[in-house]
Homo-oligomer: 465 residues x 2
């Protein structure tokens, strides 16, 4: 390209940018933001690439390393002025190729759809076979005591509570058996744990997810089985109890392994603030996913929405007054190391954050935000000032919250946080399964979420908190 | 059954009913209603039966007749005390077996995914072949004039506006070319009309839907093609224009037929009011569907939700003070005859309705209600009194509206109306297509909608409007 021509092009581009500058009127600007998101949105296309090219982005995996490189390029495509990595060492757990849970209740052995829980130790090479004892809760296993638990496989078979309206709340209420069940059972001499998958759906998809071994308990293997498999195993146990004396046994094989911590990275892209460049508005989510899943809703959707915020600002010629920083956190699923490293760096550098906004609740129709602050009820202030502006876009929920897992440590440092809250009835149908794929995400719902984030960022940037 | 035993059973049943009587405290009652809907809801099971046994419930069809019988039984299963039919004569249009739209642009003929529009006249037996002229709107075809339209097939190729947040609004804005396009083109001598399917999705599903012939225009055949087919046809026209002179032709065959009006029925189930039996609270939707679709969201979901309202009242032992009437309207899709017959009967019998509530916007996550009244702003009163009660269930939208198509004539008679407003981003992906099937409906979303309707009915019944 000749120099003169290049100069003319640059001049034209800068004039276009000025012309495209959205009006400062909030109503008109939000309309421009949502229109950009809905009509020219790129989040869905980026999501398709991310989750089909790099499924299974677990800490330590090649897929996550690939996603880091993809994330840098995606941030540049979106118009980030600066893109850099923050190094983080992450846990490295690998699922083995031979996982199986088999029901032995007389007749032919019945394979049950199962995944080892994330972090589970392996069984001996030949697997474990033992009698199964069924409980509903941590309290029930404690009540059984060592006599009825030692040498057995403990089966936590409590469905997520269907009466709880928000599945996320039902999940939080029920997930203790997955995270703490193995150690609770191991303290009483159990040889392994099986948990019913955390979902309202009744189907044959197993849902993995992290389990945490307590320091004071033996580490025993643990797996999740599908809800249909749980129904089957539960029925076999009931039948055995009725027949008096018969026992139900399960054979379990897990050949996962723990490896040394591996290098990974938070990926960060910025547009520098025009007035307060040292003050940061953060928007982000986690780039990693469980190993078995494309991770489209959890959390590819949050990643592409966060990146899209930068693109929308650039496309509309909106220059942020504060520095707009997009953070793709590593290792939320099984360590939160990316979040902790980021928060440590903020403290160390004494970086000032106006707000840290997270998106990690699925790419469904956005309903509003949760907001949290150590200085008063941010959600009430936000609702009073902005609810009418957001209403035309279906966003009318402003509730108290803690943003999300990745911004939690920032809230603990006194930084205001927010989290996008989409509809959630479908989320736990796919959560931590092979089915969390691109076809489960609706382009317009995803793009409305990106618009919602960009709108919140713009309002905070121009009006303060 | 012996008499004494029967007496004991009846006594037990009445004691149980008293015990099960939900508390009159609104917060507790709404909690009981939504819990019943979510935990023991039967709407999804009923929907599966309806849409898999009686898909294609178009006026005059055997499927609709079967659905009428099913509806009576379903109302009885739900606990309606009285179930009866209201006779209605309905239009009877039948799609033929041989529909096709074929693109002829040089090279091999390319079949385009298509459906005749509902109500379209047939082509001659051998089909129609003509040059295609593309327009975006009714205005554009008028501007072309007879010279450029006569003898041609007019192709309305305007995508639904993606910038409009609510797809229902984009649909209403864009659907004029489907309903009025054929007559507008025929007045200028067009021989047939093709419309781009009414959806934001870019896929190969054709969407049917009604077209209305004006009395002053020749009746010409009309079909909808999928959005992908529309893109293909549009690209062929652009290429032909660029190459200068080449024309694009389409061959169209439709062998539908109009038959004499057929008997059908509104299906009505009631629980008699304890205090004001002559005053009616109506909840309902339309039982018919387009011929090509299972009609799960449009409007099987509304049917099973309406019936579920009765079941929830019975299950909780809630005795309505006003008569609770569930109406399954016939023939909404291509005539509205069920609605008109019902409204005429109301006027004739001078029946008093407290409110008429419709559900016909899909079985997605409910967001709130539209409310309308000839006596002031009902939606504002409802929001002020009940928004806080509905908020825990994700219902926080109370907007002015007209209820829906079937209760429209009642609003015109001065009766207050309401309509359930669910999320709608996914609705027009399936609307009037073969894909509007049971797998597109989420049980919990459907059941939350039923709970929302039951809650609104209960609030109006106990607190008035």
């Amino acid at each position: 390209m000749r120099r003169t021509f290049r100069f003319i092009l640059a001049l034209f581009a800068s004039l276009t940018a000025v012309r495209a500058q959205a009006p400062a009127d909030p109503e008109a600007t939000l309309r421009a933001i949502f229109t950009e998101a809905l009509v020219r949105g790129r989040a869905y296309g980026e999501l398709r690439t991310l989750v089909t090219t790099y499924p299974g982005r677990l800490a330590g995996s090649k897929a996550l390393a690939g996603a880091v490189t993809w994330g840098e390029a995606a941030l540049k495509r979106a118009g980030a002025e600066t893109v850099y990595r923050q190094d983080v060492m992450v846990p490295h757990w690998e699922r083995g190729a031979k996982e199986s849970v088999t029901l032995l209740a007389g007749g032919a052995p019945q394979p049950l759809a199962a995944f080892a829980l994330g972090g589970s130790v392996a069984t001996p090479a030949g697997g474990i076979e033992a009698e199964v004892v069924e409980v509903k809760s941590l309290e029930e296993v404690a009540a059984l005591g060592r006599e009825q638990v030692a040498g057995k496989i403990v089966f936590f078979n409590r469905p997520m509570d269907p009466a709880i309206v928000r599945p996320g709340t039902a999940y939080s209420t029920g997930v203790g058996v997955r995270s703490r069940g193995p150690s609770a059972a191991a303290r009483l001499g159990a040889v392994a744990v099986i948990v019913r998958s955390m979902t309202h759906a009744l189907d044959d998809l197993p849902h993995t997810g992290g389990t945490n071994y307590a320091p004071d308990a033996p580490r025993i293997p643990a797996a999740a089985i599908s809800t249909l498999a749980a129904e089957r195993l539960g029925a076999a146990l009931t039948a055995a109890k009725k027949s008096g004396g018969a026992t139900v046994r399960v054979a379990l094989t897990i050949n996962s392994r723990w490896l040394p911590d591996a290098p990974s990275h938070n990926v960060i892209g910025e547009i520098r603030g025009t007035e307060f460049p040292e003050q940061i508005i953060l928007v982000g989510g986690h780039l990693d996913s469980w190993d078995v899943t494309p991770g489209a809703h959890d959390n590819g959707s949050g990643i592409v929405q966060s990146i899209e915020v930068l693109r929308i600002f650039r496309a509309l010629g909106l220059r942020p007054r504060h520095t707009l920083r997009c953070v793709l956190f590593t290792n939320e699923e099984n360590g939160l190391r990316g979040s902790l490293a980021y928060a440590a760096s903020v403290r160390e550098k004494q970086e000032r954050h106006v707000i840290a906004i997270e998106t990690d609740n699925g790419g469904f129709q956005p309903r509003g935000f949760n907001l949290g602050s150590t200085q008063g009820d941010l959600h009430e202030r936000a609702a009073a000032r902005w609810a009418a502006l957001f209403a035309p876009y279906g966003l009318n929920s402003f509730v108290k919250g803690t943003g999300g897992a990745d911004v939690g440590p920032l809230l603990a440092q006194g930084i205001a946080v927010a989290g996008l809250t989409p509809d959630s009835q479908r989320y736990f149908d796919y959560h931590h399964t092979t089915a969390d794929s691109i076809d489960k995400v609706h382009p317009r719902e995803l793009h409305l979420g990106a618009g919602a984030l960009a709108a919140l960022v713009w309002l905070v940037d121009t009006q303060g908190l």
